[in-house]
């Protein structure tokens, strides 16, 4: 007061404008203060200010949220232009932590990474999870396939459970939500990826996503956050407010095109047939070498057989696919006044997939608001509604329904495009050239899988700020969705006496199934927070809370397993009885928790948490469990005042946490079940009631009334350093997690009469490092700036112990993707947990090999000997993951691109197996398909030693399709890749060009995702990110999955 009085004597006025370095736009709302005083002002909507200052020399201090503060000496100038740069390093940024508590990042003793809206919407992917790929160290994100509406899986630091859910907890505006992905009924034959629910959220509605990586970060969320948490904060009205406007409207519109990213490489030397001889009904390319002659092909119909040149069609498969396209349109309005803010948005996405006829539509609607009710009460509410509809791709190995399965087997000389009219007399079921496969266009157009999801997320919060140190806050929220599905499989029948009837082609009675899943989760949180300044330098914050949640899922499935009238899809068209089933799952939990945070002089921080949960899924005697955590952060650069010209910031962190996890519902008591009597083949099963008699069978899991929660102990240390005005930054974390007393069904040998018992056992560890290096190599005065960041993640998972007497369990439990059937030529592989191996080891049938790795062959036939025991071929876990993100900006133009790198890990590829079987794989042309001695093969001598083999194999077809193709060890591929994950070029139209328009900002971008991929040299088959089994634990299997896509497009964003 006193100072301002003295200044007022002799004044001068300085006017000026503040411009952002990044885009050259003016910045409203920047605070301008005379250093050493309280005198100041704020820039207006045009970024200009006017301030009276004393005649004497002054220093002006400019500061704004998200920008680097700046001191400026105006000298004697009366007009100034200030260029502010954004605070890229964000070392003092505020992040959202558990229970939506905002904390300064510097105070956290554990690893968190935030991703902003801008980064999430750059690539224009419909999924926020896909949009985070390559941007967050320590986290592995995979997107199942290139089919529309597919699911995404996120695993942080390798997970914590053998067989339980290993995905993190998702929390949207403080309310937990579910990323469940309910697979279609039959993974192997009619696999459909029907999406996962977090992918419903429109990236445009997100303000930021924060990943809390360790259990320490999420101790307050209780058991479900033991795999870390992904906190999603949606946009609110405050954006407009901080921009100095009462209201802001943004409209953005984009269009992207999609084409297959990677198609298999095919051979173009041999055509349809067997044993190098033509066979006009074959689905394989084992025929004669191409000659270009005009030859007959296909079946004779009405006495006429067609002809075509006997030559390869190199782009046959490529030409089958459509150019996919996605339109997105988003409109949002936000605003607010003194006491309240609001945000509304409407978004619409329409995607047509590369697989002809597949589509996905999503409409999102959000409305939220906050109000200061009186001096002490405040409240907020939010409703987010998403409606999505997909007409999805059917994948898997069943040729009757999976187009891809037919495509990769098509002989290299038969045009896929020419088969398109499947009602044509040469292409219809009766006369299609091959009785062994189905016309892919028939499979595509006559079968479908449609799902319709209504998803509602809502929450209401009421708070009471009693005084300046006590705050009471209650929030109740729900995650509710209704998922309706319809599966249609056409009748396949042949006219008696027709070509394909004669040849015994497979038939199908048709199928129609409706599924309805309703999931409702309610979460209630009461939190009381007290903050107290204990001494000048010591601050205390105490939080106590109470949480109740309930998850309630119901489902009904009704199936007509055979149809009467072709093409009519309704349950009343069932030939024979329809089958139906329903289920109900209820899971409840409540807990109390507390958190104490101490900070000393804003450079030393200590946090302690504790929580006790009570769960409905555990026995009453074991249903209460407590777990604590402690974390500390020390900003030594501030404590010892080390900052200088070269060294800018330094922090070390350490934390320890223990987290408990309850069981799934209904695992304590063995029950009776509907019998499952089948040989694994389609429609080859016996369903009760049989001949009017009901039947049940004793369940296969031994009751366990003593089950306890499982616990994970996590330790981590971290280091955060910045140099040279924060142009170089390093973040490094090391963690060591150990999970014990795993709840899983220990499998028993069938001879015990049971499949297993749900127990607590096993030790599972994950150790790893996460590193992030950020550089600003160029930051020129001309406005050119280049930022680059490298992220590196190495996780070493280890199954230390399973169960006494048991060193292996299968991860395929409950899914059995590999049937144990005779003759099923693709058996012999499974994904297991093996003691002493990383999580997810591939146990496969293999050729017998000598100690030097040479193939052991039968001395009389020259063919490989199949090893009598399956081998552990390797793990699905990568050696490391890495990402490189670049952003280059010059005035209004910015260019960003991200590379995503995965090194190591194996996976099983059915596409490879099928291509070898069908002779479409280039490797099958080895030695011109003449008999050869298998390279590096040996024979075993009577004394056990090995000698080089000299016996050639009988023929190439038998070797490739009879030995290599059905032996999974030979069809594994290295899952390494380098992907150009994202490219975006943005132009922000300078304000001076639009200042007379109604717009306050206009930005135009060109974007691309997954534009380029480089795979391991032996993988010319598929994008290794593919997975057939959705987002569950059983990864590393591609079982006829659609090719992934590259997308590119443009969008415009208008702000009013």
């Amino acid at each position: 007061m006193c100072i301002s009085g003295t200044i007022s004597a002799q004044n001068r006025t300085i006017t000026g404008k503040v411009i952002a370095k990044d885009d050259g736009m003016t910045i409203p709302g920047v605070s301008v203060i005379i250093k050493g005083s309280t005198v100041g002002t704020v820039t207006d909507i045009n970024g200009t200010f006017s301030l009276e200052v004393p005649q004497s020399s002054v220093i002006l201090v400019f500061s704004s949220v998200g920008m680097k503060s700046l001191e400026y000496d105006p000298g004697t100038s009366s007009t100034v232009e200030i260029i502010m740069e954004s605070d890229v390093m964000k070392l003092d940024e505020v992040v959202v932590t558990a229970n939506a508590i905002e904390r300064e990042k510097r105070s956290l003793g554990y690893a968190v990474t935030s991703v902003s809206n801008e980064e999430l919407t750059k690539g224009r992917d419909r999924s926020i999870l896909n949009s985070m790929q390559g941007k967050v160290p320590g986290i592995q994100i995979s997107n199942g396939s290139g089919s529309v509406g597919s699911s995404s899986r996120v695993v942080i630091r390798g997970g914590t459970s053998f067989l339980g859910n290993n995905q993190p907890l998702y929390v949207i505006d403080g309310v937990p939500m579910d990323n469940a992905s309910y697979e279609s009924g039959d993974n192997l034959n009619r696999q459909v990826d029907a999406g996962s629910r977090v992918n419903d959220i429109n990236p445009q509605d997100i303000e930021s996503v924060t990943v809390l990586k360790g259990p320490a970060a999420a101790a307050l969320y209780g058991s479900r956050a033991s795999n870390g948490a992904v906190m999603i904060t949606t946009k609110s009205g405050k954006t407009a407010k901080t921009g100095g406007k009462n209201a802001e409207m943004t409209f953005s519109s984009g269009m992207t095109f999609e084409t297959p990213l990677m198609l298999p490489e095919f051979q173009n030397t041999y055509g349809q047939g067997l044993f190098k001889a033509p066979d006009l009904r074959e689905n394989t390319s084992w025929g004669a070498a191409f000659t270009g002659e005009i030859l007959p092909y296909g079946n004779e119909v009405d006495g006429i057989q067609k002809t075509k040149p006997y030559s390869a069609i190199p782009d046959n498969v490529k030409d089958f696919f459509d150019v996919g396209h996605t339109y997105t349109n988003d409109l949002s309005v936000s605003g607010g006044g003194e006491k309240s803010t609001y945000y509304m948005s409407l978004g619409k996405l329409t995607q047509n997939g590369i697989m002809p006829g597949t589509e996905y539509k999503r409409t999102t609607f959000k409305i939220s608001g906050t109000t200061q009710l009186s001096n002490k009460f405040y409240s907020s509410a939010s409703v987010y509604y998403i409606k999505s509809k997909g007409d999805l791709s059917i994948q898997g190995q069943n040729t009757a329904t999976s187009p891809w399965e037919n495509i990769i087997q098509t002989p290299r000389d038969i045009s896929l495009v020419d088969l398109k009219d499947y009602n044509d007399k040469y292409n219809n079921l009766d006369n299609f050239y091959s009785p062994y496969t189905t016309n892919p266009w028939f499979a595509l157009n006559e079968n479908s899988y449609i799902n319709n999801v209504d998803h509602l997320l809502g929450n209401v919060m009421l708070g009471y700020k009693a005084n300046d140190w006590l705050d009471i806050n209650y929030r109740i929220g729900t995650d509710f969705y209704d998922d309706n599905r319809e599966e249609i499989s056409a009748i396949i029948a042949y006219t008696p006496g027709s070509n394909n009837d004669e040849q015994g082609a497979a038939t199908s009675p048709g199928r129609y199934e409706v599924t309805n899943i309703t999931s409702r989760e309610i979460n209630s949180d009461l939190m009381i927070t007290a903050k107290k300044k204990l001494t000048e330098s010591l601050n205390l914050r105490v939080l106590v809370g109470h949480n109740v949640r309930e998850k309630h899922i119901t489902g009904q499935v009704a199936t007509a397993n055979a149809l009467v009238i072709p093409g009519f899809y309704n349950l009343l068209n069932a030939d024979g009885p329809t089958t139906s089933s329903n289920f109900l799952n209820i899971n409840r939990q409540y807990g109390i928790y507390g958190n104490i945070d101490l900070s000393y002089k804003n450079y030393l921080f200590l946090g302690i948490t504790g929580r006790n949960d009570w769960s409905s899924t555990l026995p009453e005697k074991n249903n209460s469990f407590f777990y604590p955590s402690v974390n500390s952060s020390f900003v030594f650069s501030d404590a010892f005042d080390l900052t200088g010209k070269y060294f800018s910031f330094g922090k070390i962190t350490a934390s320890y946490a223990k987290v408990g996890k309850a069981a799934e519902p209904y695992v304590l008591v063995n029950t009776y079940k509907q019998p499952d009597i089948t040989d694994g083949y389609i429609n080859s099963q016996l369903n009760f009631p049989v001949q009017g008699v009901a039947g049940f069978t004793l369940g296969n899991v031994v009751s366990n009334p003593d089950l306890e929660p499982e616990f994970t102990k996590a330790f981590e240390v971290g280091l955060d350093l910045a140099f040279i005005n924060e142009r170089v930054g390093i973040t490094f974390n090391y963690y060591d997690n150990k999970s014990e007393g795993q709840i899983f069904t220990a499998p028993f040998a069938a001879s015990t009469g049971f499949g297993g018992k749900t127990i607590n056992a096993g030790v599972f560890t994950n150790k790893g490092i996460e590193a992030l290096l950020r550089l600003t190599p160029i930051d020129s005065k001309s406005g050119f700036r280049w930022n680059i960041s490298f992220s590196y993640t190495k996780n070493k998972s280890m199954v230390e112990e399973i169960y006494p007497g048991l060193d292996q369990i299968s991860l395929n439990i409950g899914q059995s993707p590999f049937s144990a059937n005779p003759g099923n030529s693709f058996t012999g592989g499974s994904l297991v947990l093996q003691e002493g191996q990383p999580y997810g080891a591939l146990l496969v049938t293999a050729f017998e090999r000598d100690p030097n790795g040479n193939v052991v062959v039968d001395p009389t036939t020259g063919y490989p000997i199949i090893a009598s025991d399956d081998i552990i071929a390797g793990t699905i876990q990568p050696d490391y993951l890495a990402g490189v993100s670049n952003s280059l900006s010059y005035k209004n133009i910015s260019l960003g691109f991200t590379f995503d790198i995965r090194k190591g890990g194996l996976m099983f590829s059915r596409t490879k197996s099928t291509m070898i079987f069908a002779g479409t794989d280039p490797i099958t042309t080895y030695n011109d398909r003449e008999p050869f001695v298998i390279p590096n093969s040996v024979v075993q001598n009577p004394d056990g030693s090995y000698s080089p083999n000299t016996t050639p194999i009988g023929d190439a077809l038998t070797y490739w399709s009879g030995f290599v193709s059905p032996t999974p060890n030979e069809t594994l591929i290295d899952a390494s890749y380098v992907k150009l994950r994202e490219v975006s070029l943005t132009y922000k139209v300078p304000l001076r060009l639009i200042h007379k328009s109604p717009f306050s900002a206009v930005a135009i971008s060109i974007t691309g995702r997954n534009l380029w991929i480089k795979t391991h040299k032996d993988n010319h088959y598929i994008d290794p990110e593919a997975s057939s089994f959705g987002n569950g634990n059983a990864q590393g299997f591609e079982y006829g999955t659609l090719p992934s896509v590259k997308s590119y497009g443009a969008n415009i964003r208008l702000t009013f």
């Binding site: 004669e502 397993n561 409905s616 040998a749 001879s751 015990t752 005779p822 049938t845």
Partner: protein
């Protein structure tokens, strides 16, 4: 202001309400989707149907290939490994796991539920357990028996009993079943339509039990003739008798999706070009003018043999260029819809088998009776089972090649009995026919499959399943498919 306070208090009280009712709130873990208790009459049909499914499907096929009724067709590849003798340790994992964890365990559950008051169910369950255990040990050799089905008692790595111990244990198990069936508690509940085999007819179950014992003893004829003889002598005079015409132990199916014969549904799923007639059986039928040929096989529908029977030498169908580039499965005979139709029964034990067993017992002098008459009854019973005129059977067995060699050697007589038994089991009891071939070496004209990948050997045993090897450290070292089971001494 006041309004807000009320709301706040309300919310607080809701929260405390949850805590106050904590016990009820968490008491939601009773499974609403599956019952915790059911009755024996809901378990018996499952156990029978599931056993029938394995016997009539996976085992019927391997038995059919290795008894040389069937062979792999040239245009398919589904069962190549059977003709190649290249079965792996996963090939019969499902059958093994199904039989132990489902029917055998369900039968045990029936026994413990019903032994003290509902003993008819307990009796049937014991007898069916013995039936299944014999099938398993005949296929796999030593298997878990005395310690099997005891996970709830804490035995999770059951030991593998020797085959001889298992055989010795099967008889008391059947006797236990017979005892239950013969016990009247006054409160007995008789199975009805839930017993798919005999509809609760206790006398027929007793005959089944006795015939099963006959089969078990007879299997030991070569390895322990003394035991076999003593056993057979005792059961032939216990007054129970053996299965007779019309008393086949079998389960029928209906022609409705998910109610059909399991082999029929597998063929429907995989196409009818995989399982074709083997010349080993087809030529025997042709050479002996057997009128049952059209009950066992459908004729070729196209090509030079259209309307005739045409088979493939065992394992020859997958030889390169077999039949030329135009070959189709329609050129060949296929399993008929009499034995593999949608409604065809799965046969557990036929009356024909009962007669042939008795004929052999008489021939060996272990039982009194007329071997020739029993032999002819066996043939006639097979004709009846296939709904053929019994008079045709008389014509058939009157041919000199089929006529029972009453004055021949024991070897001659056994050869006739087992060869006729083999042809009568075509497509219906294939596994049993393969076991009897292994025991006796008859029929003596089977050939090593031309697709054999194990050299000039026949297969003798199934491998231990991968799941058992992995989970039970007591699993013995893996067999070679050429190995022989205990009673296979020739």
């Amino acid at each position: 202001m006041k309004r807000f306070k009320i709301k706040f208090i309300l919310i607080l009280s809701i929260t405390t309400f949850f805590s106050a009712c904590e016990k009820d709130f968490l008491d939601v873990n009773k499974n609403p989707n599956q019952p915790e208790q059911v009755e024996a009459k809901q378990l018996l049909p499952t156990a029978i149907a599931h056993t029938a499914y394995v016997m009539g499907d996976e085992y019927q096929i391997i038995g059919g290939f290795w008894s040389q009724y069937w062979t792999q067709g040239p245009t398919g590849s589904q069962y190549n490994i059977y003709d190649q003798y290249l079965i792996s340790n996963t090939t019969f994992d499902r059958a093994w796991s199904d039989l132990y964890a489902d029917p055998l365990m369900d039968l045990k559950d029936i026994i413990r539920k019903t032994e003290s008051g509902n003993s008819k169910y307990a009796g049937i369950a014991c007898i069916l357990q013995a039936y299944i255990f014999q099938v398993l040990t005949d296929l796999h050799g030593d298997i878990p028996f005395s310690e099997a089905l005891k996970a709830e008692e804490g035995i999770i790595t059951p030991k593998f009993d020797s085959q001889s111990d298992i055989y010795d244990g099967l008889i008391p198990l059947i006797d236990k079943g017979i005892n239950y069936l013969n016990t009247y508690l006054g409160t007995d509940i008789y199975p009805q339509e839930d017993d798919f085999i005999y509809h609760g007819d206790v006398d027929l179950w007793l005959k089944f039990a006795n015939t099963l014992k006959l089969k078990i003893y007879m299997r030991q004829s070569e390895v322990r003739p003394g035991v076999a003889q003593a056993g057979i002598t005792s059961i032939s005079s216990n007054g129970i008798g053996f299965l007779e015409d019309g008393e086949d132990a079998q389960m029928f199916f209906i022609d409705q999706l998910f109610g059909q014969n399991p082999l029929y549904t597998q063929i429907a799923a995989l196409g009818s070009f995989n399982i074709l007639a083997s010349n080993s059986a087809l030529n025997y039928l042709i050479n002996n003018n057997d009128p049952r040929i059209d009950s066992y096989y459908r004729r070729a529908t196209s090509g030079d043999s259209a309307g005739l029977h045409n088979g493939i030498n065992q394992g020859q169908g997958k030889e390169p260029n077999f039949g030329g580039p135009d070959v189709v499965s329609g050129w060949f005979s296929k399993p008929s819809f009499v034995v593999v139709g949608p409604e065809s029964p799965v046969v557990f034990m036929s009356a024909a088998e009962s007669y042939f067993l008795q004929a052999e017992a008489v021939a060996r002098g272990w039982m009194t009776g007329d071997a020739k008459a029993l032999y002819e009854s066996g043939i006639t019973s097979s004709f009846v089972h296939l709904e053929k005129d019994p008079a045709e059977a008389v014509n058939y067995y009157s041919q000199s090649a089929i006529d029972f060699p009453t004055s021949g050697t024991l070897e001659d007589q056994i050869k006739s009995i087992i060869t006729q038994k083999w042809i009568s089991m075509n497509g219906t009891e294939s596994v049993e026919a393969w076991s009897e071939w292994r025991r006796t070496g008859f029929p003596d004209f089977l050939i090593v499959s031309m697709a054999s990948q194990i050299g000039n050997f026949f297969p003798g045993i199934l491998l231990y399943p991968n799941s058992e090897q992995t989970l039970n450290p007591n699993t013995p070292p893996q067999h070679n498919v050429k190995d022989k089971v205990w009673w296979d001494v020739n």
